[in-house]
């Protein structure tokens, strides 16, 4: 079984092959290792590899997976299979969280530089500046002051 995970800015592929008896061959980014996995009575995951045994705890929340290993916490994102890694590079043009647009600083057609402030978004009593991820020309602005936007909503499109 293949799955694609976003780990910060990285996209990582995991291939899981059942070897029977609750053992798996795990291939991550090309390297393979074996893990024995036991689901404990209280729902934890006991993983034994050649480096020892660890009990993990995994909680799903939407596409996020909160993974606790010992006292360490990691957050991974499950990508829909086939999703291209490049999509995330647009980041910064989407609303990072739900909020209200308080200011629009550019107009369609304007040439902007990398890092230039485009929009201000207020949420949780803090102002967040949306900046251009790269130089380019504003193709579309999908937000106006006072407008409430959802997380992930595309606010500005850039061309060039």
């Amino acid at each position: 079984m293949k799955s694609v995970w976003r780990d910060g800015d990285r996209v990582r592929e995991v291939e899981l092959k059942s070897l029977g008896a609750a053992r798996y061959a795990v291939n991550i980014d090309g390297a393979t290792f074996e893990v024995a996995a036991e689901l404990t009575s209280d729902g934890r995951l006991r993983l034994t590899s050649d480096t020892g045994t660890t009990v993990a705890e995994v909680t799903a929340a939407g596409t996020q997976r909160f993974v606790r290993l010992g006292t360490l916490e990691f957050v991974l994102h499950r990508e829909a299979s086939g999703r291209r890694a490049g999509a995330a590079a647009q980041g910064g043009m989407e609303a990072p969280m739900p909020g209200v647009i308080t200011k629009v600083m550019v107009e369609v057609g304007a040439e902007v530089e990398k890092g230039q402030p485009l929009l201000a978004l207020e949420a949780m009593k803090m102002e967040h500046m949306i900046r251009a991820p790269r130089a380019g020309k504003i193709k579309r602005i999908a937000a106006s002051p006072g407008q409430m936007v959802q997380a992930g909503a595309v606010l500005v499109e850039l061309e060039g």
Binding site: M1, S3, W5, D7, G8, R10, R12, V14, L16, S18, Y24, V26, I28, F33, V35, A37, L39, D42, G43, R44, L45, R46, L47, T51, G52, T53, T54, V55, A56, E57, V58, T59, A60, A61, G62, Q64, R65, F66, V67, L69, G70, L72, E73, F74, V75, L76, R78, P96, M97, G99, T102, K103, A120, E122, A123, M124, K125, M126, E127, H128
Partner: protein, 503 residues
């Protein structure tokens, strides 16, 4: 004492206040907005009154709705907590006009100290040195003043507080952009766009003094707190006492604080915030006329319940004890756990906190406002909890706090837990050698780099296997039986697990 008190707040501070009310045998009334239906603070109060839509302006900031709820519930007093209407003089006045007691200072005191420009003048008259600064609505005039006193400067909302809207400017362009942004936030958060600027004292420490005034001209101090560890002017770690004050400096700053509180015949709990420069000079910053987020560290070292003291002053005008009866014991340190992505510019996070385990330890206190299944909404401050440890000395208190953070699990929403752990493991923090700008200047970049390290393969394997087993919902974690002498599976994560950042 009062018979019934309405708590004009939500989350962990509402729960905190309710605990003391229960102890005093006073009935507690919660208020809640549409977004907080059934949330923890409504579950633990004796009563709960609905006050309006999710938007704070329509509910927790709605003076009329809150005062009506107090009257409707038959409360005889109102505790504002912090944030929301806690430093709103019109609210205090409305509460008193409704015939109820406002648990806090007089409306005039709130007004005077709420205008930070006015507060600076009061401090100056009381003989407390103030930071050089300038005020006014004219950006050009402010720019000239900034040029005169020299950059960097800080832009602050005149009626602000809690670091909201604060902006640092290192040159005139940043100043002008910052003034505009600060004015917008100030108008939105405090209903008044006025801002002022202060010279940024670099390499300074944030020292604040907790005071209690009886409203008749007597005040006492409960020692200082050190809140130097800040990011974007927001406190993240607070402790008491300060490790960087000499005994003489402590005497100077606490006496100045009492002098100021007595000069204004201050009533209730308040905090005088100061900056301690590298040269050992103390400057007045502002006075907060309310309970402080970080009040638990003072409670732990003094044994004084500050909420109880507030209630008793409001009910009887009596201070909890004489200054000479106060003693302090050991060291206490607190972290603020936020739903925010520290590695991405502290971006606030929303969602459902599906699984929580709060830590346990014999000298650990947890003031939290959520339980498993509760949600964090866009509408309010994303602070989930404060985790506080007490110990005989600073080193032990930090060790205890770190153990508590390792014992903390919050799944479902990204939190600043990794940030807090890395921070407390940083050698500079252990040694106490930092200032208010240190996090941004020296800590954030290596922390972000650390967070960009790939997750260990075992984490990916766990996520994939959990999915293959049909449930990504494994419950509480604890490493299982390791074969004798097996290598520690975390050894490869050395920097994380052992010394942490910078080790």
């Amino acid at each position: 004492m009062f018979r019934k008190v309405l708590i004009a707040n939500r989350g962990e501070i509402a729960r905190r206040i309710a605990a003391t009310l229960r102890e005093l045998g006073v009935r507690s009334v919660a208020v809640y907005s549409e977004a907080d239906r059934g949330s923890l603070h409504t579950r633990i109060c004796d009563e709960a009154v609905f006050i309006g839509p999710a938007e704070a302006r329509e509910s927790y900031l709605n003076i009329r709705a809150v005062v009506e709820a107090a009257q409707q519930s038959g409360a005889d007093a109102v505790h504002p907590g912090f944030g929301f209407l806690a430093e709103n003089a019109a609210f205090a006045e409305a509460v008193e006009k409704a015939g109820l007691t406002f648990i806090g200072p007089t409306p005039a005191q709130i007004t005077a100290m709420g205008d930070k420009r006015e507060a600076r003048k009061i401090a100056e008259r009381a003989g407390v040195p103030i930071v050089p600064g300038a005020e006014g609505a004219d950006a050009d005039a402010l720019a000239r003043a900034a040029n005169a006193m020299g950059y960097p400067v800080i832009i602050k909302a005149a009626l602000g507080g809690g670091g909201k809207g604060m902006q640092t400017a290192r040159n005139e362009a940043e100043l002008r952009e910052g003034i505009e942004a600060a004015q917008r936030v100030a108008a939105s958060a405090f209903g008044d766009p006025s801002v002022y600027i202060e010279k940024l004292l670099e390499h300074a420490r944030h020292i604040e003094v907790q005071v209690l005034g009886d409203g008749h001209g007597r005040a006492l101090h409960l020692y200082e707190r050190d809140c130097t560890l800040q990011r974007r002017h927001q406190k993240v770690v607070e402790e008491a006492p300060s490790a960087s004050l000499t005994s003489d400096q402590r005497t100077v700053v606490t006496h100045a604080a009492v002098r100021l509180a007595e000069a204004v015949r201050y009533r209730g709990a308040g905090t005088i915030e100061t900056l301690l420069t590298r040269e050992g000079q103390v400057y007045f910053l502002e006075m907060n006329t309310r309970l402080q987020v970080e009040h638990p560290v003072t409670e732990l070292i003094t044994g004084i319940d500050l909420v109880r003291a507030q209630l008793e002053i409001a009910a009887t005008g009596k201070l909890p004890c004489e200054q000479h009866q106060l003693q302090r014991h050991g060291h206490a340190i607190e972290v603020r756990l936020y739903a925010e992505d520290a590695a991405k510019g502290f971006l606030p996070q929303v969602g459902t906190v599906s699984r929580v385990r709060w830590p346990y330890g014999p000298f650990v206190r947890v003031d939290h406002g959520i339980e498993s299944g509760d949600s964090v909404s866009i509408h309010y401050d994303p602070m989930l909890a404060k985790i506080i440890a007490h110990g005989p000395d600073r080193e032990t208190a930090i060790e205890r706090l770190l153990a508590a953070l390792d014992d903390t699990r919050v799944h479902g929403v990204v939190t600043n837990l990794p940030f807090l752990k890395a921070l407390l493991r940083a050698p500079e923090v252990r040694k106490g050698s930092y200032d208010t700008e240190w996090i941004e200047r020296e800590f954030l970049q290596p922390f972000a780099a650390l967070m960009q390290a790939p997750a260990p393969e075992l984490a990916l394997a766990a996520a994939a296997i959990a999915e293959a087993l049909g449930g990504s919902n494994a419950t509480v974690a604890a490493p299982g039986a390791a074969p004798a002498a097996a290598p520690d599976p975390f050894a490869a994560l050395g920097r994380w697990r052992q010394g942490g950042l910078g080790a």
